[in-house]
């Protein structure tokens, strides 16, 4: 019974039911090959959801991840055009992403501006920076080197590198969250900031670290995104930040901070990814698709709210029955 009550178990069950429903309408969707394709396609969402999870755990939110992704992706494509070798491009994308995340983090930490306002601003600035870099021009498939495009697609043991990267980073992230002081600090800061201060954790510094982490992941994803779709322009991944937040919410990351698991975030992302990949093949009118995605999010949040409706902590046991 306790197993069924755990959020992750419910989500896993929901994913299985979803797959069964899709399979009844389009059996080819659940073939291993196609599911591997879905995992690959969902990798960017998983990576960003992990970063966003760290930020949300610390009572913040990062709306600039998609713009960060787009800027880093564009810079990666530009570097490739200059003939920079791929390992350096990867480092540059991750480094730039971390720096952009650090800008968010510093503004939140040192100036104490609410993160939603900071990242709303930097989101626009980062998009604008892409326009300044390129003048609005596109970088297209034939302008990218073969190696640049081939890396995320290279297949190792049945899965493309892009999916393997997601798997590795999920494992690393789980270790970070569960086994390191920084990971525990994310929960402490979000759960009870005052208590965290008393235990010697700097709230601002922890939030800063979360933003840098989210930024670095967005930078890496930027390269993967541009290489996968073989095109870079100002508006890539437009509106993707909302998908990322939705994945976290569906995954049970408490928007007020302090609660949530890596497994939840990953499954939240997978849930959205499966819906996104299934809608085109199950033959549902495109006019309904957005409504269906939205309903899935609402239902998940309703579950969240029900799960959290605690009876309240009873402080005076003896006083409980008197009233």
């Amino acid at each position: 019974m306790t197993v069924l009550k755990s959020r992750e178990a419910i989500l896993a069950l929901a994913i299985l039911v979803l797959l069964a429903v899709i399979a009844s309408r389009f059996p080819a969707f659940v073939t291993p090959g196609n599911l591997a394709g879905v995992l690959t396609d969902t990798s960017p969402l998983i990576l960003l959801a992990l970063g966003q999870m760290a930020v949300i755990l610390t009572k913040c939110i990062d709306l600039s991840v998609a713009a960060n992704l787009a800027l880093c992706g564009m810079v990666a494509a530009l570097l490739d055009g200059m003939g920079v070798p791929l390992p350096l491009i990867l480092l540059a994308a991750i480094g730039l992403g971390a720096c952009l995340g650090a800008v968010n983090g510093l503004l939140v930490w040192k100036l104490g501006i609410p993160s939603i306002v900071v990242t709303l601003g930097t989101m626009t600035i980062y998009r604008g920076a892409i326009f300044l870099l390129t003048g609005g021009a596109w970088i297209n498939a034939h302008q990218m080197s073969e190696g640049f495009k081939a890396f995320p697609r290279a297949v190792i043991a049945g899965l493309p590198v892009m999916a393997w990267l997601a798997v590795l980073i999920v494992a690393g992230f789980a270790l970070l969250v569960l086994r390191t002081p920084l990971g525990r600090a994310f929960y402490a800061v979000g759960g009870n900031p005052h208590a965290a201060v008393y235990t010697g954790i700097s709230v601002g510094r922890t939030q800063f670290a979360a933003f840098v982490l989210a930024g670095a992941l967005a930078g890496l994803t930027g390269y993967l995104w541009v290489a996968r779709y073989a095109v870079a322009y100002v508006d890539i991944a437009g509106g993707f930040e909302l998908d990322v937040v939705a994945a976290c919410v569906i995954g049970g990351i408490a928007i007020a901070g302090g609660a949530g698991s890596v497994a939840g975030a990953v499954m939240g992302a997978l849930f959205l990814g499966i819906i996104k990949n299934a809608l085109p093949v199950v033959g549902i009118s495109p006019f309904w698709q957005m409504a269906i995605s939205g309903s899935a999010i609402l239902i998940a949040i309703a579950f969240n709210a029900r799960g959290r409706r605690d009876p309240g902590r009873i402080i005076l046991k003896r006083a409980e029955h008197r009233t």
């Binding site: 297209n140 498939a141 034939h142 697609r153 073989a230 095109v231 509106g239 990949n277 085109p280 093949v281």
Partner: protein, 330 residues
């Protein structure tokens, strides 16, 4: 007495000079573009020069502001009025803002037409669009049909469900679909002009319709994403991607074979036709009124509709043979 003589002589001299210079001078047609340094308009200028050479007695003044603002264009047009050019052909940065200045030009006897991006009807004598919705609708299905001698299933990948342009083109396409009986349009999906969603929708189309022969994407984001999806699915040669795109964005996919051909307006033809029309209007051997036809040299004739607008031609088809030449232009 001597003063009067002098004055008269001067006046006579001046008249003679003005008349003389008018005789010797070529007709001057100003091609005003949205901004200088944009490949698309440089190409239009190339077409205008071609028209000038063909006509012989025409000088093209290629000009425009340095950034795409209506204010910049107003300054440029004012100076053209001061230079007393014979005709102005403008691709406007704003439909309404240029109207007063262009009216002033027309009052001074200058022929004013707009092309590519139009101005309101009272600010010009006629407008030349690169193409029209029925022509585009016909072209996109023709592109698919031309590469399917035996016919087969095709699907449309559009932008958003509410994009006016795409919806109009697809509607026009469906009207003429009967002319291509072997081509079966099996469905329309929407990629929302997002690379990732368009890619996923294209993948979905290939899964849903295993016999799919072509994807028609009348949107520049969609056509690139669909071509990449076909490439990644290893279906080059089986599924042909076509529609509307830009040569610079599609060059790689045409070379890989994912797209055999696609269409978009040809800026060279557009500059050429605008110059031809401006020439004939300024010379007075054609008038800009509803129903009139104006010759455009090698591009045929422009027929004006009730709003004195005309469509130049079918969208220009780009394939392996010419995509490289144009990919450096736009």
């Amino acid at each position: 007495m001597s003063i009067l003589t002098k004055a008269l002589t001067t006046a006579a001299m001046a008249t003679a000079l003005i008349a003389g210079s008018a005789q010797a001078e070529d007709m001057r047609i100003a091609l005003v573009v949205k901004a200088l340094g944009i490949g698309f308009f440089e190409a239009a200028n190339k077409g205008a020069q071609e028209a000038a050479e063909e006509l012989g007695d025409v000088e093209i003044i290629y000009t425009g502001p340095t950034d795409t603002t209506a204010e910049g264009q107003i300054e440029v047009i004012n100076s053209l009025i001061a230079q007393k050019v014979d005709a102005i052909a403008v691709s406007a940065n704003d439909t309404d803002a240029l109207v007063p200045t262009l009216k002033k030009a027309m009052q001074r006897g200058i022929t004013v037409i707009s092309w590519d991006s139009g101005v309101a009807a009272e600010g010009r004598q006629m407008h030349l669009s690169p193409s029209s919705a029925p022509l585009i609708g016909n072209m996109i299905i023709k592109l698919a049909a031309d590469n399917l001698p035996e016919g087969g299933e095709v699907a449309v990948l559009s932008a958003t469900t509410t994009s006016t342009n795409q919806n109009t083109w697809i509607e026009e396409m469906n009207k003429v679909a009967g002319n291509y009986p072997d081509v079966k349009v099996v469905g329309t999906v929407y990629g929302d002009d997002l690379a990732d969603k368009s890619y996923r929708e294209a993948q979905g189309l290939m899964q849903t319709y295993p016999d799919l022969k072509a994807i028609i994407a009348p949107t520049s984001v969609g056509i690139v994403a669909a071509a990449q999806a076909v490439t990644d699915a290893g279906k080059i040669g089986e599924v042909n991607v076509t529609g509307l795109g830009l040569p610079s964005e599609m060059a790689g996919h045409v070379k890989s074979g994912a797209s055999k051909s696609f269409a978009i307006w040809n800026p060279i033809d557009l500059g050429y036709s605008a110059t031809m029309i401006a020439y004939h209007l300024a010379k007075g051997d054609a008038t800009a009124e509803p129903g009139a036809t104006i010759p455009m040299g090698r591009m045929g004739e422009a027929t004006l509709d009730d709003n004195t607008e005309a469509a130049m031609a079918d969208p220009f088809v780009y394939d392996e043979s010419n995509v490289d030449e144009f990919s450096s232009i736009f």
